[in-house]
Amino acid sequence: MGKIISVHSFRGGTGKSNVTANLAALLARLGKRVGIVDTDIQSPGIHVLFNLSPERFRYALNDYLWGKCRIEEAAYDVSGVLEGRRLKDAGSLHLIPGSMRTGEITRILRDGYDVGLLNSGFQELMERLELTHLLIDTHPGVNEETLLSIAISDILLLILRPDQQDYQGTAITVELARQLEVEQTFMLVNKAINPRDFTALKQRVESTYHVPVLGVLPLSGDVAILGSGDIFALANPDHPVTSVLEAAAQRIDAA
């Protein structure tokens, strides 16, 4: 059975969508069959990193939640991003985007949806596409979907910045993960400033939360310039940011 990995942060803009897309691509590069679900229905966006434009997707997660399609009909094969990037034996990437239509986003907010359907959608997707990993990109903060996705995850990956607000908020999420007995929680520090301090920063975070840190990523001009326009690790295979992401993907694969 495949693994469900929720990527979450207490606060917004930590880099969840970028990290999710990169880890998914790197897992696929290790030969895995990887699914990605954008559960951030209120502010979807990860499809941008896979160069999947909203005109090209007929169905989104919203349609599945309203019973308009089967979950696999809302899954787009985005393995194309791996092509031409010196890869042999790559696996595959399947993305379920969130709708980018104003009326469909507001409808979800107004009417809600059947949470059971979201849960069975995850399980069916894993079975029908024979996924080895299902990555869930979440909306920041603690809400219904987030708690449920944490409750069914094998792995929870928490992204945080070296920022006092992130530190306090992350403590809450770590506590929730403990209460829900998530099998494995990891952290990734993003947008760190001083490279000379990275080792100490990692140790500090680990000893504060008692959760393994998969890596520390710098606040990077190169990542910012890319502006979610591509998957950084694929576009920049020899970049130091990519090495950190690769090591994180390997730890997740080994977990």
Partner: protein
């Protein structure tokens, strides 16, 4: 612990945190499985079938699982509560947004 609104049955995410660890573990496992019989729950958690039955009954009484008896042994599946909008914005706003 029972959901606040009787008109919307099933559990909400917050209910998971209020359950006893033993019941919560069973419910979380059922979420991943889809459904399971008392015997399967007993096997998974290495406990007598009777004890698994007690936990499942307790979850059923709270409205967090429902039973199906169509074929073979009774199977239990999680009963999710419907997600609702968190806030009520000013009336008329939805019509305006959707008309745009």
């Amino acid at each position: 612990m029972v959901s606040e609104s009787p008109s919307s049955p099933g559990f909400r995410a917050g209910d998971l945190l209020a359950l006893s660890p033993a019941e919560r573990r069973v419910l979380q496992w059922l979420m991943r499985q889809g459904s399971a019989s008392a015997r399967e729950v007993a096997e998974r958690f290495e406990m007598p079938e009777e004890e698994a039955g007690i936990r499942l009954d307790a979850l059923e009484k709270q409205g967090f699982v429902v039973t199906e008896t169509a074929a073979g042994p009774t199977s239990y599946r999680p009963e999710f509560g419907h997600s609702r909008p968190a806030r009520k914005p000013p009336s008329g706003i939805w019509g305006k947004l959707e008309g745009s």
